[in-house]
């Protein structure tokens, strides 16, 4: 098979690995701050619709459309984050899940989003280098945060919010920052996604995809940026490799999640486990 026909067949899959990697990173960002937020699928939807409407109906340039698709979800996250982030743990998960449902119903009922039919004929503007660039920027952003006072604040809040506040960290603002940045990344991923799938429908951004995104991050591990990328890639490829099981995709996701939580609670990418392995192999070699 030559390159161009291979690319014709698999381009959607390859681009999806990158886009889902970004989504997994967006939830990794909020998780690293101790927030179990399940709103990222909804933010992806807002970004996807916003940028698709911009190119399809207003014929604005793609870059500007992506910009809008990044900024609008961030603005929405800012507004709902102020009340919602007072919650934590499962209560936050419930509230963000509820928000996702609201977004889905709104997308279903607005005229500009095409109602239940969704949007069709979105121009295929996303190319491989757009995805690579967006992914690289996301990884660079997350790495820069990690090695700064903001990244340390995220970690401190995740471990002990009260202690973090008493260390002079404005925990409310830091949590809002994580939430808004997560929404922006998810929105950008959504904008890129819309411009290679041609169609959008409200059902793409509901409960199922919220769980998918969480599964990617948990499966891959949240000890660093490599984990979510790995999880995103695996869960994008898995349904293709197990084509026969297509209808059982959700069941398979669920089983994988259970298996990982049971046997690898830190996820597949776990630097501490790698160190243990290396050490045990080292001692065996000596003996």
């Amino acid at each position: 098979m030559d390159w161009s026909s291979w690319w014709d067949t698999y381009s959607t899959l390859v681009l999806s690995i990158g886009v889902y990697g970004m989504l997994a990173l967006s939830i990794y960002l909020t998780l690293s701050c101790g927030l179990l937020s399940l709103a990222n699928a909804a933010f992806m939807g807002i970004g996807a619709y916003m940028s698709a409407i911009a190119t399809l109906q207003f014929e604005w340039p793609f870059a500007f459309a992506l910009f809008l698709g990044t900024v609008l979800p961030a603005a929405v996250a800012f507004l709902i984050g102020i009340p919602v982030l007072r919650l934590s743990g499962v209560y936050l998960a419930m509230a963000t899940l509820g928000f996702g449902e609201v977004v889905r119903v709104v997308l279903l009922n607005l005229d500009i989003t095409g109602g239940p039919l969704g949007l069709n004929g979105i121009p295929p503007l996303t190319t491989w280098w757009h995805v690579v660039l967006a992914l690289a920027l996301t990884v660079a952003l997350l790495q820069a945060l990690r090695r700064s006072r903001i990244g340390r604040a995220f970690e401190a809040i995740r471990e002990d919010e009260t202690a973090a506040r008493l260390m002079g960290i404005a925990t409310d603002r830091i949590k809002l920052l994580a939430f808004v940045l997560g929404a922006a990344i998810a929105g950008l991923a959504g904008g890129l996604n819309a411009h290679y799938t041609f169609t959008l429908s409200p059902g793409n951004f509901g409960f199922e995809s919220a769980v998918d995104i969480l599964t990617m991050a948990v499966l891959g591990g949240i000890q660093g940026v490599a984990g979510p990328l790995l999880g995103g890639a695996i869960l994008t490829l898995l349904p293709e490799l197990l084509r026969g099981l297509q209808e059982f995709r959700m069941a398979a996701n669920g089983l994988i999640l259970i298996a990982v939580v049971l046997f690898m609670p830190q996820g597949l990418w776990d630097p501490a486990r790698f160190r243990r392995w290396r050490r045990s192999r080292g001692t065996r070699a000596e003996a």
Binding site: L141, A144, L145, R147, S148, R149, I150, R152, A153, E155, A156, E159, D160, T162, A163, A164, R165, L166, M167, G168, I169, A170, T171
Partner: protein, 253 residues
């Protein structure tokens, strides 16, 4: 420096603190003692803004602390440690201490995105100072270890280093030597003496009498949410009300 006037706090129907009045003066080591459940930690929780008092006044440096959120109180110069140690267990010792410097890292968001010289310099200094603080409490050699792997006594020392990182003017220590052996207690004693030489004000809760009497300028005794005595250590030790609170009343012959 720190003034509590008629301070009270109720939890439901329980009066945890009732009309507590005391003043911690600058450069003093002030001790708060009392039986378990007397409300000592509640005093610290009110001072650090974890919850509001139900009545009374709370002032630091002449400014009211009422309604000020905890992180702002910390930024004004009050740092604390916890009775039930609250470290960031999965972070290294040095990162724990640098978290304490959060409000003192003067770089902006774009500095950290672009790794500007200002960012690098601030981070480099923070690390250097954190290392210094760790050496000061005797943990310098363990700086890349995870906090959760430390012994109990060392965790308490790390909490003190982390509290000092925020450059406080008032340090609240909640049972700093609980669970420590005699050697460690002496180390902490020497540390607090050296902090006082650096003109830091210390307000501490402690059960160890030798420790309290050896360090504090003034001691207050809290019993059932009320201050029953305040004075110099020697006066407190001779005070009949205090002896009664600790040992119970002598039966009349």
């Amino acid at each position: 420096m720190l003034k509590l006037e008629g301070l009270s706090r109720q939890f439901g129907g329980v009066r945890a603190l009732d009309d507590v009045t005391l003043t911690v003066h600058p450069e003093q080591v002030y001790g708060l003692i009392g039986p378990n459940g007397a409300g000592k930690t509640t005093v610290f929780n009110l001072v650090t803004g974890l919850f509001p008092p139900t009545g009374g006044l709370l002032e630091f440096d002449g400014r009211s602390l009422q309604g000020v959120p905890p992180h702002r109180i910390a930024q004004r110069g009050i740092a604390r440690t916890f009775q039930n140690i609250r470290l960031f267990q999965e972070m290294t010792l040095i990162d724990n201490v640098i978290v304490g410097m959060h409000a003192h890292l003067p770089y902006h968001f774009w500095d950290l995105l672009l790794r500007t010289p200002a960012f690098r310099e601030a981070e480099r200094r923070a690390r250097a100072r954190a290392l210094q603080l760790l050496h000061r409490v005797g943990l310098g050699t363990l700086c890349e270890e995870l906090a959760g792997n430390l012994s109990y006594g060392n965790q308490r020392k790390l909490e003190i280093a982390r509290a000092l990182a925020s450059r406080p003017r008032l340090l609240l220590l909640d049972e700093p030597v609980a669970g420590m052996n005699a050697t460690e207690k002496n180390e902490i004693m020497a540390l607090i003496r050296s902090l006082r030489q650096d003109r830091l004000t210390v307000f501490m809760i402690e059960h160890d009498m030798r420790f309290v009497m050896g360090l504090c300028d003034t001691v207050a005794v809290l019993n059932f949410g009320r201050i029953i005595a305040e004075g110099k250590p020697a006066e407190i030790q001779a005070n009949p009300a205090v002896i009664e609170a600790y040992l119970g009343q002598e039966e009349p012959a």
